[in-house]
């Protein structure tokens, strides 16, 4: 039982701390010469913890590279990162806190469409610029956000555009006749598969299986059984990571051998080959980022990122870094970084301009949707290489795919 005296001391201490914090807050805001505070909420635990940590590293790399080069507008960049536990409720509370009580100067987006939409709404209410690394599904751009920009080459539905073009361009006797689709009940994962589905159906490739599974699915045997029984020429997985891996293994256990297999996200993960026992032959995946892509800032990014983290960056890291690049370009061009009128100037600038990034030159339409398509990579001889489009390819596409 604490004595009344001790209680007073605690209260005084608490008061000191809070007033101290408040002083810091107001000082940073009005001065404009303190660090630029960038607020981020990320899924560091829960279902999206894996990509969430990747995005975190990307942001940290961006802050370090910017700071090592003298900062933004001569001010150091300081990241405030909160953990939203992969929950849409938490992400809203986090951004409220970052903007309202932490008084950050800029905010950037979290990971996954499910978290991007609610957090973009908060940013929109405060009139903040909201560049985000992961909200690629169609619904992100139908909410009427004026302040949102997706910092990647293409939205989910356009990921497979190069592949659809290739398949439908094959001579009629080689072209696949049937296709099976399995997609996670997640706007991004589903969007990738359905973008390809719409194009292949329009081109005359018949859909024989169309499965949707919830994100908590643990058993993929039954879905695989349906796909294997259909003997579809093409299998397309609208997957994140573990579901893609589990589905591929389940298909292999049933000795199903399609002519073409395409899965989103999972095959580009560095753990992928080991996870499925190196039976990767011929698997295709769209990718928004490649370490080998020849854009000038990408070389610097790969080099410095590798020096900082001891390994090369992946797509999640690159998307976060791209987000940082877009924000930095806007801040430099407009010459300010704080809440208030400055934010609208930043938003207007991004709408009106193109930005050179590690994933190429990006530009956006009115809804914040980027105007491009993804590269297609394929596992060839134990290595993943860019095969489409033709002008950036590292290897020729292998079709029909060898047995896995």
């Amino acid at each position: 039982m604490p004595s009344p005296h001790r209680r007073t001391t605690w209260a005084a201490a608490l008061l000191l701390v809070t007033t101290g914090l408040a002083a810091c807050g107001s000082g940073g805001e009005s001065g404009g010469d303190g660090p630029i505070k960038v607020g981020i909420s990320l899924p560091l635990t829960g279902d999206f913890s894996e990509p969430g940590k990747g995005v975190q590293q990307g942001y940290e790399a961006w802050a370090k590279i910017v700071n090592d080069a003298g900062g933004l507008l001569g001010r150091q960049v300081e990241l405030t990162i909160l953990d939203d536990q992969s929950s849409a409720d938490r992400v809203v509370a986090d951004y409220e806190q970052l903007i309202g009580s932490d008084q950050v100067d800029l905010v950037v987006g979290p990971f996954s469409t499910r978290l991007v939409v609610p957090s973009a709404r908060v940013a929109s209410e405060y009139g903040m610029l909201f560049v985000e690394p992961a909200g690629a599904a169609a619904e992100v751009f139908t909410q009427g956000f004026k302040n949102l920009f997706y910092a990647a080459p293409a939205v989910a539905n356009d990921h497979y555009n190069h592949l659809a073009e290739y398949i439908l361009g094959l001579p009629a006797d080689q072209r696949p006749k049937t296709a099976a689709y399995a997609a996670m009940d997640d706007p991004f994962a589903q969007g990738t598969a359905y973008g390809l589905k719409a194009r292949l159906e329009a081109g005359g490739v018949k859909t024989v299986v169309n499965e949707v599974y919830p994100p908590n699915t643990t058993d993929f045997g039954s879905i695989a059984a349906k796909i294997a029984a259909s003997k579809a020429d093409v299998v397309v997985g609208g997957s994140q990571y573990q579901d893609g891996v589990n589905l591929i293994v389940a298909l292999q256990q049933l000795s199903y051998q399609p002519k073409l297999a395409a899965f989103s996200t999972a095959p580009t993960n560095p753990e992928f080959a080991a996870a499925i026992g190196n039976k990767t032959e011929g698997i295709l995946a769209p990718t928004g980022y490649s370490q080998d892509a020849p854009y000038p800032s990408n070389k610097e990014f790969v080099e410095k990122y590798t020096a900082q983290f001891g390994k090369a960056p992946e797509e999640d890291q690159a998307n976060a870094y791209t987000t940082g690049q877009v924000v930095a370009a806007a801040v430099k061009a407009v010459g300010c970084a704080e809440q208030g009128d400055c934010q609208q100037k930043l938003i207007d600038w991004v709408h009106a301009n193109k930005v050179d990034t590690v994933v190429g030159t990006l530009s956006w339409d009115d809804t914040g949707k980027p105007q491009g398509a993804h590269m297609i990579q394929q596992w060839v001889g134990g290595d993943i290489k860019i095969v489409l489009p033709a002008d950036v390819k590292e290897a020729a596409i292998v079709y029909p795919k060898p047995a896995w």
Binding site: T45, E50, E211, Y213, T218, D219, V245, Q253
Partner: protein, 292 residues
């Protein structure tokens, strides 16, 4: 036709795994009337240990059982003696949910701390191997998991029916006061019974690790279906849980064909509601006092 047969095979193999995973959960309830939310967290912990063992030693993950089974037995005794036995009898069932919920969170947090959130999968030479039986493919890893379930549930059954410890444990489950009157140290027996339950989690987690991708928060996806299984099977009845697990596994796999994955998963909860509405004591267990 071949799809139906394939689904039956997959459903039975899945049901066997469910039976093994649910066995411990129903045992705890029988012994102490507690709801052990952390059971699935211990399953994932065992799966991680199997994965880690395989990474470090290169030996087959099944060999990790030599270490994890005794370890989990001791952990079970410790959880019972140090946490659950200290709860007040009146609010035991309710409070056990809170306490074991906390244990589950701690395990999840420690797994994330020790192994990061990266999703892991054991790389086995026979990971995607399979053979054909009557036109259906049987995956080797799924068959091994099923075999583990049969062996450990069989061993559990013999232990309960044929050994004096088993008799003491069943007496404790049936009527604690009467058991104490005939000279059974029910406290110690309950502790060992808990250890036994957690030992099945070690086996179950290892079986699970053979054919799934694991990550620290995976246990939340498992606890719901497992709870449904033990209620349908009759709380406290291991054979009841096994029967319910096979039936629900099969139903899930077959319903997948017309309904798709999302609706097929709801079979657990439909069965749970139906059981609570029609036959709250469960469909397979008989009266609680006579169970196992």
């Amino acid at each position: 036709m071949s799809l139906v047969l394939q689904s039956v095979v997959l459903g039975l193999l899945l049901g066997g795994l469910y039976a093994l995973l649910a066995a411990g959960l129903t045992l705890y309830f029988g012994i102490m009337r507690v709801v052990m939310i952390a059971h699935s967290a211990f399953l994932i912990l065992a799966a991680y240990l199997a994965w880690w063992w395989h990474e470090r030693t290169g030996l087959d993950p099944l060999l990790s059982l030599v270490v994890t089974v005794p370890l989990f037995f001791l952990a079970g005794v410790a959880v019972q003696r140090l946490l659950l036995a200290r709860l007040r009898a009146v609010t035991l069932t309710m409070m056990s949910v809170l306490v074991t919920f906390a244990v589950a969170l701690i395990i999840e947090g420690l797994l994330g701390y020790a192994f990061t959130g990266t999703q892991r999968r054991i790389q086995l030479g026979y990971g995607s191997a399979s053979f054909e039986v009557l036109g259906a493919r049987v995956a080797v890893v799924k068959l091994i998991a099923f075999g583990l379930a049969v062996v450990s549930l069989g061993a559990l059954y013999l232990l309960m029916k044929r050994t004096s410890f088993g008799w003491a444990l069943r007496a404790t489950i049936q009527h604690r006061d009467a058991a104490r009157l005939v000279g059974i140290d029910t406290e110690r027996t309950a502790g060992y019974g808990f250890g036994l339950g957690l030992a099945t989690a070690a086996v179950g987690g290892t079986a699970l690790s053979l054919d799934s991708t694991i990550y620290p928060s995976l246990h939340w996806h498992w606890i719901g279906p497992l709870m449904a299984i033990i209620v349908v099977g009759g709380l406290g009845s291991v054979p009841g849980a096994a029967a319910a697990a096979l039936l629900l596994g099969l139903a899930q796999s077959l319903l997948q064909i017309p309904l798709g994955t999302t609706w097929a998963q709801t079979v657990f909860y439909v069965a749970l509601f139906a059981t609570l509405a029609v036959r709250p004591q469960g469909f397979f267990g008989g009266r609680l006092a006579q169970r196992f």
